[in-house]
Amino acid sequence: MSSSVTILDRLNVLDRRWIFLAMALAVAAPILLGIGSDESPSPPTKRLFDRLEELPEGSRILMAIDFDPNSAAELSPMALAFTRHCCLRRHKIYFVTTWGTGVPLLDATIKTVVQSEFGRGDRPYQYGIDYVNLGFVAGDAVAISQLTSDIRKARSQDMQGTSLDSLPVMNDVVSLQDMQLLITPSAGFPGAKEWVQYAGTPYKIPLAAGCTGVQSTQLFPYYPDQLVGLVTGIRGANEYESMLASKYPVPYAEMSKRPASLRGGPQRWAHRLMISLIVLGNAIHFANRYRRSSHS
């Protein structure tokens, strides 16, 4: 009995610096140890995942990387996850960006996923056969409608300056209407909204989008009629990574390949800490009340 009283007394005068220390640990430890957190899929994310699963091998998919370094923290994990999923399903990928500042991020996506993860082995992804980098198409929304009517009008060459006609992957491809799915992780203008207005809806091309947390309210009205799927913010990226991990545990269950899940770790532990602090605070409160009433 006496020991419990002293604990209560100590807790009553608990220095808040202990709370600070606990919070520092709850955030720093998961970062340093690489502890991530899963996220259960929400319907708009799951629908895109299922669509990519259902499409037959070798389907044509346009990946529009419409963001810049400012929003890369939220959208880059998404772009990586989408690309990985396409590669796993052996779809043909057509990379493009309508953002001038998006080119380095496009290159980074190709380098990290297609070249270093799928560029080797018995069935390597080969440039010009399995994927192509169309690079930057200038003209914002006009560029999108141009791609929809004729890709070669918007870009006659790929990023390296090779004529599109000499690339096998471009055979039988005239416009975006030959694609089975358009995916765009996008941060603003031009972005998902323009893809819906100029490509997805008028030509009935299936379209899915990823967006930043701030943008989600703008895009949600388009789901589920005009968007096949909608992945929102870092949480959406985490949902996608978690689905990839459970479907393809090798090697995608590994945390180093899951940047969004990795950021979920500190969040989860910090939230747990907050909850336990509130519970602890109330335990102290009620213990004090109990003590006061039993004393009087």
């Binding site: 600070f20 919070m23 955030v27 970062i31 950021r263 500190p266 969040q267 910090a270 939230h271 907050m274």
Partner: protein, 316 residues
């Protein structure tokens, strides 16, 4: 030396030593920054005196060529990247300042006080510079003397721009503030204040009535019974939406009752306003919890800066 000082001295020594060891052993380097030079070069056109950009493949050396060099951030692996001492020092400074601010959580200390003094000076200066260029030059000077602005700062100012002397009024009003330094004319310093407060009152009165009063009432007007069309063309009672609407309307009305100043909060008014304060408390609890995620992200980003950009311990 008391116990606390001993512990802190020990911690500092251990921290310093392990940092030194880490600097020695780390492959990525600690806080090393690389840049890539970007050359801007042009040739003076003898006839017009205008500088034209160099054509492709033209040599940057030679007669009449003017050059400027800018440095952009680059990854260590990028070809042609060069080590930047100033930016490496910058990352170290930033990291040390970050730690100094965190030290405030333990208690107020000279390190924090130093950072506080620096940031007060730097930020006051930063905003003066920011407004100096974006307002005084880009708004005032351009309007009052477009020629001077074009010559000195903004070559893109249209040649046919005419001075607009209307802009002298705010400049004079602004300068009246300095009258406060002269005791006899200090009352003139109230004029700009009166001007701004008056404008604010007029602008905000309309803005708040329009945006907050009218719009919020409009969006609270909801049907309390919602019927949805079912597959066979008939209508079903959508209880989920109906309850949602009812809760919204009741919550808004009861919270509004809480804000009544001229009625005693007794009897039924008291009961309704009590429900109102409950609604407010629930909304505060939820808003508090909903912000936690954003706050944690901020801390995560600062720690990432320390662990990744500076120490190179993790890759995120």
């Amino acid at each position: 030396m008391n116990r606390e000082t001993t512990i802190w001295t020990l911690l500092f020594i251990v921290g310093g030593l392990s940092l030194a060891y880490h600097v020695q052993s780390s492959e990525r380097g600690v806080g090393q920054q690389f840049v890539i030079p970007v050359e801007i070069a042009g040739r003076v056109d003898a006839a017009t005196g205008v500088i034209v950009p160099l054509g492709a493949g033209e040599s940057t050396e030679g007669e009449g060529v003017i050059k400027g060099v800018r440095y952009d951030k680059a990854g260590r692996e990028t070809s042609q990247a060069v080590y930047s001492l100033s930016r490496t020092i910058g990352v170290w400074v930033a990291a040390i300042l970050t730690l100094c601010v965190f030290s405030y959580l333990y208690r107020d200390n000279p390190f924090y006080k130093l950072v506080e003094s620096i940031i007060v000076g730097v930020s006051a200066g930063y905003w003066i510079v920011q407004y100096g260029w974006t307002v005084l030059v880009s708004k005032v000077l351009v309007k009052l003397s477009p020629d001077l602005a074009r010559y000195a700062f903004l070559p893109e100012t249209p040649v046919d721009a005419k001075p607009e002397y209307l802009y002298l009024i705010p400049v004079i009003l602004g300068c009246l503030i300095f009258c406060r330094l002269i005791p006899k004319a200090a009352w003139l310093g109230r004029w700009p204040l009166a001007f701004i407060v008056g404008t604010t009152a007029g602008l905000k009165l309309i803005l708040f009535l329009n945006a907050d009063f009218v719009r919020q009432i409009r969006s609270t007007i909801l049907p309390l019974v919602v019927l949805s069309t079912n597959a066979s063309g008939g209508s079903d009672f959508d209880w989920k939406q109906s309850i949602q609407n009812l809760v919204i309307v009741v919550s808004v009305l009861s919270s509004l009752t809480y804000f009544y100043f001229s009625v005693e909060h007794k009897g039924w008014v008291g009961r309704i306003s009590r429900v109102g304060i409950w609604v407010l408390m629930i909304s505060f609890g939820a808003s508090f919890a909903l912000t936690v995620m954003g706050r944690i992200t901020l801390l995560t980003m600062r720690l990432q800066f320390l662990f990744d950009d500076w120490l190179g311990l993790v890759r995120m």
